[in-house]
Amino acid sequence: MSTRSVPVSAYRIVAGILTFVLAVPGTILYLASYFWGAWLLAGACAAYLADRVLELGRPAFFSLVRSALRRSAMPAIGIVAALLLGAAIMLATGYNPLSSYKALFYGGLVRGWSVSVLNATPLLFTGLAVAFAFQGGFFNIGAQGQYFIGVMTATWIGLALKLPGIVEIPLIFVAAAFVGAATNAIPAILKVKTGAHEVVTTMMFAYAISTLSPVFIRAFGGDPSHSMHPYASDTLPEAAWLPTFKSFLPEANYRLHIGIILAIACAVLVRFILRSTSLGFKVRAVGNNPMAAKTQGISIPRITAASLLISGALAAAAGATQVLGLDHRMYQDLGAGYGWNGISIALLARNNPIAIIFTSLLWGLLDSGGRYMAMTTRTPNSIIEIVKSIILFLLLAEMLYQRIGLSLRAAFSRLRRGSDARTGIEKEIGS
C-alpha cells in the first residue's frame, strides 16, 4: 500500500552499501570455514533489515517479516519432522539417533564444512539447471548427462590449449556452457518436433553420454600401457585450475576452490534473468500458462528451447567447475548423481534460485555430515538418503498440512461444542 516513493535518504544509501560490503566478505569467510564470518553476515542482515524498515515504514515491514516467517515455518517444520522420522527409523533398527545426529551436524557444519561446501558446488549448478528448465515447464531429468558433457569439454580444452588461466578458464566455461546447451538441443528439438517426452529422452541421453565417456577418457588418458589408473584422463595444467581459497585465506582447506563463489554468483544471475529480463519473464509465462503466453505473441518453441539450452549450459558449468576446481581431470561416471540431486535441490527450493543456494548447502552438509557420522558411529550413512527423501516428501505435501490443520480444527471445535453434532470434516480446499 505504500506506493508513495520515499525520498532516498542518506541512511538508505549507507545501509545498502553496508549490506553489500558486509555480506560479500562474510559469505566468503564463512564458506572458507572462518566461522566468524557469520558476524559479518549478521551485520549485513541487520543493515538489510534496517534498509527495508526505512523503505517500507514500520507496519509494512513487520507484516512482511510476519509473512516471511510464516512462509519459512513449513520448511523448518518439514526438516525437523523428517529428522525425527529418521531418528525413529534408527531407533527401530538399533542405532543411536542422538549420537548419530550429533556426529551428522558436527561433521557437516563444523568439522567437514569444507567438504559440505565442495559437495554443494556442483549441486548448486545442477539445481539451477533443473530449476531453470522447471520454470519453463520442462523436466530436465538428464542434467547428469549435460554435467558430463561439461566435464568432457573442460578436460578437452584444458588439455588441448595451453593458455594463461585468466584467458583459459573463462574460455572453458563459455565453451562448456555452449556444448552443454547444444547437447540439450537434441531433446529440445525432439520435444518440439515430435513431442517425445523429455523425461525419457534426457534420461537416455544421460545414460548414453556416461556410457561413451570411457572412449573420451581413453583418448585423453595418455598411453594405456603405462597408465595404471585408466578411469581418469591426464591432469590439466595448473594454469587451468580454479584458484583456491587458500591462496588468499591461509587457514582455508586447500581443496576448497572458488567454484562455490561462481555458483552463488550464478544463482544470483539466474534470479536476475528470471525476474528482471524479458527472456526470464517469457520463460516464466510459458512455464505457468503456455496458452496465454502464446496468445500474447510469445513463441513457445523458442522459449522452450531457450530454457532448455540455458539449463544445459548450467549443468555443463557444474561439470566444468568440478574439473577445473576439484578433480583437475576427468573421472569416469560412477553414478555420482549430480542430476538426481539437482532435481531434489530444485524441488526443495521450489525453483527459487536464491533458495537453491541454501538447499544445495543443506544437501552438501547432509552428505558430508553423513559420512562423518558413518565414520564415527556405526550408523550407515544411507540413512541420510532416507532422511533426504522424507524432507522432500514433507515439504512438497502441502495437502498433508491442510489435512492435519483441518482435522485439528475440527477436533478443537468438537471439543468446544461437546458431542452435540457430527461436524462434517470436509476435504475442502478453497479455490
Binding site: 570411457p214 589408473h229 581418469a232 569416469q332 560412477l334 562423518y372 564415527t376 550413512n381
Partner: protein, 348 residues
C-alpha cells in the same frame, strides 16, 4: 615411535571427537584401516581381498583394523583423512579410482602411511605413500593355460566341456587392469594351442548382474565352455549363468569357488590379500618404507591361481604341470606375459 603416534592419535581424537570418541584406537597394536571404493565390501573382489588381508593380520595379532565404505567419489578424501585423524597408522585405499585423492590425503596427513591398492603413482611419491599395483596379466596367463588345456585336450574329463576349443571372457568395462587380465588369458590359452578361439564381451557396468549373465550365456551359445569373469559384481552373473547352463566359470581377483563350488573351476588370484598383509607385517616390524610404487606379481607371491577344489581329480597332472612350468618361467623371467591386446595383434 609407536607410542608417540598413539599419543598423537589420542590427542587428535580428543580434539576431534570430543566425548563421543570411538573405541577403535585403544589397543596398543597399530591401528590399520581401509577405505573401500564405491563397490564396498561384498564385491567378492578387491575390497573383500584387502579386508581379508587386514583380518589375517589382525588374527595374527599384528594390528587392530577397521573398514570404511565409500558411496560416491567425494567420499574418498574425507574417508582417507578421517581415518588418519582417527588414529590409523596405515590406511589402505582400495581401487584405482582413488589415485588422486590418496595422494592429497597423504599430503594432508604426513604421519600416516597410505597404501593405494591398484594404484600407480608417477613421478616423486610422497614418503608416506605406497603405490600397490599388480601384474594381472600373469594371473590371466595361468588361468588361460588351464582353460586352454581343458577345452582342447581334456574336454572328455567333464560333461561341462565340449570339443569346440572355444573359451570366453566377460568384461565389466573396458579398462586397463581388465585388459591386462584378458591379454594374459588369451596369451595363456594360445600358448597351449595357437588356434584356440577366445571370445569376449563387455557388459558396460561392474554392477549389472543380469547383463553379466546374459553375456556369459551368449558366449556359451557360441561354444565357449570355460568363461572367465572380469566384471566385478556383473561377474556374479557369469557364475549364475554357469550354474544354469552348466559350464565352467573362472573367478578373478579372489577365490570365488564358494559362489558356485560345482562350476567355478578356479580363480585368477590377484594378491590384494597378500599385499595388504605383507605391508601390515612390515609396519608391525617397523620396516615399512614409503615413497615408492610396489608392483606385485607372481614373483612376489601376490599373483597366483586358486586351487581346483573338487575338480582336482578332473584336472590332469599334465595341466598342473603346465601351470607350474609357467609359474617358474614367469618368476624366472623366461616368460614375459603381454599386457595389452595390441601386443597380441587384437585391435580395439
Amino acid at each position: 615411535m609407536k607410542r608417540f603416534v598413539i599419543a598423537v592419535a589420542a590427542a587428535v581424537l580428543v580434539f576431534a571427537f570430543g566425548p563421543g570418541a570411538p573405541a577403535f584406537a585403544q589397543s596398543s597394536k597399530p591401528f590399520v584401516a581401509m577405505c573401500t571404493d564405491t563397490n564396498g565390501l561384498g564385491d567378492g573382489s578387491f575390497n573383500d581381498g584387502v579386508w581379508a588381508g587386514l583380518k589375517k593380520a589382525e588374527g595374527e595379532g599384528l594390528a587392530s583394523v577397521k573398514v570404511l565404505e565409500a558411496h560416491s567419489m567425494t567420499d574418498y578424501i574425507p574417508n582417507l583423512t578421517g581415518l588418519a585423524e582417527g588414529g590409523s597408522k596405515l590406511v589402505f585405499g582400495v581401487g584405482f579410482l582413488m589415485v588422486e585423492q590418496i595422494q592429497e590425503a597423504a599430503k594432508d596427513e604426513p604421519n600416516t602411511f597410505y597404501a593405494g591398492i591398484d594404484d600407480y603413482f608417477g613421478g616423486n611419491v610422497p614418503r608416506n605413500l605406497i603405490g600397490v599395483s599388480f601384474r594381472e596379466q600373469e594371473a590371466g596367463y595361468l588361468a588361460g593355460i588351464v582353460a586352454g588345456e581343458m577345452t582342447k585336450k581334456y574336454y572328455k574329463n567333464s560333461k561341462l566341456l565340449n570339443d569346440k576349443n572355444v573359451i570366453g571372457a566377460v568384461l565389466g568395462m573396458n579398462i586397463p587392469p581388465v585388459e591386462r587380465y584378458l591379454a594374459g588369458y588369451i596369451a595363456g590359452a594360445r600358448s597351449v594351442d595357437p588356434t584356440v578361439d577366445v571370445r569376449f564381451i563387455t557388459v558396460g557396468s561392474f554392477a549389472d548382474r543380469a547383463k553379466g549373465k546374459e553375456a556369459a550365456l551368449a558366449l556359451n551359445d557360441q561354444g565357449a565352455d570355460i568363461i572367465i569373469q572380469l566384471a566385478g559384481l556383473s561377474g556374479m552373473g557369469v557364475i549364475d549363468a554357469a550354474r544354469e547352463r552348466k559350464f565352467f566359470a573362472i573367478g578373478a581377483d579372489v577365490d570365488q569357488n564358494a559362489a558356485a563350488p560345482d562350476y567355478v573351476l578356479t580363480s585368477a588370484l590377484k594378491g590384494t590379500t597378500m599385499s595388504a598383509y605383507l605391508l601390515i607385517k612390515d609396519l608391525a616390524a617397523g620396516t615399512l618404507k614409503g615413497g615408492e610404487n610396489r608392483v606385485f606379481g607372481l614373483k612376489e607371491g601376490a599373483i597366483d591361481i586358486a586351487p581346483f577344489h573338487q575338480f582336482d581329480s578332473i584336472v590332469p597332472a599334465e595341466v598342473k604341470q603346465a601351470v607350474a612350468d609357467a609359474k617358474a618361467g614367469i618368476a624366472s623371467g623366461k616368460i614375459t606375459v603381454p599386457s595389452t591386446l595390441a601386443e597380441l595383434g587384437i585391435k580395439q
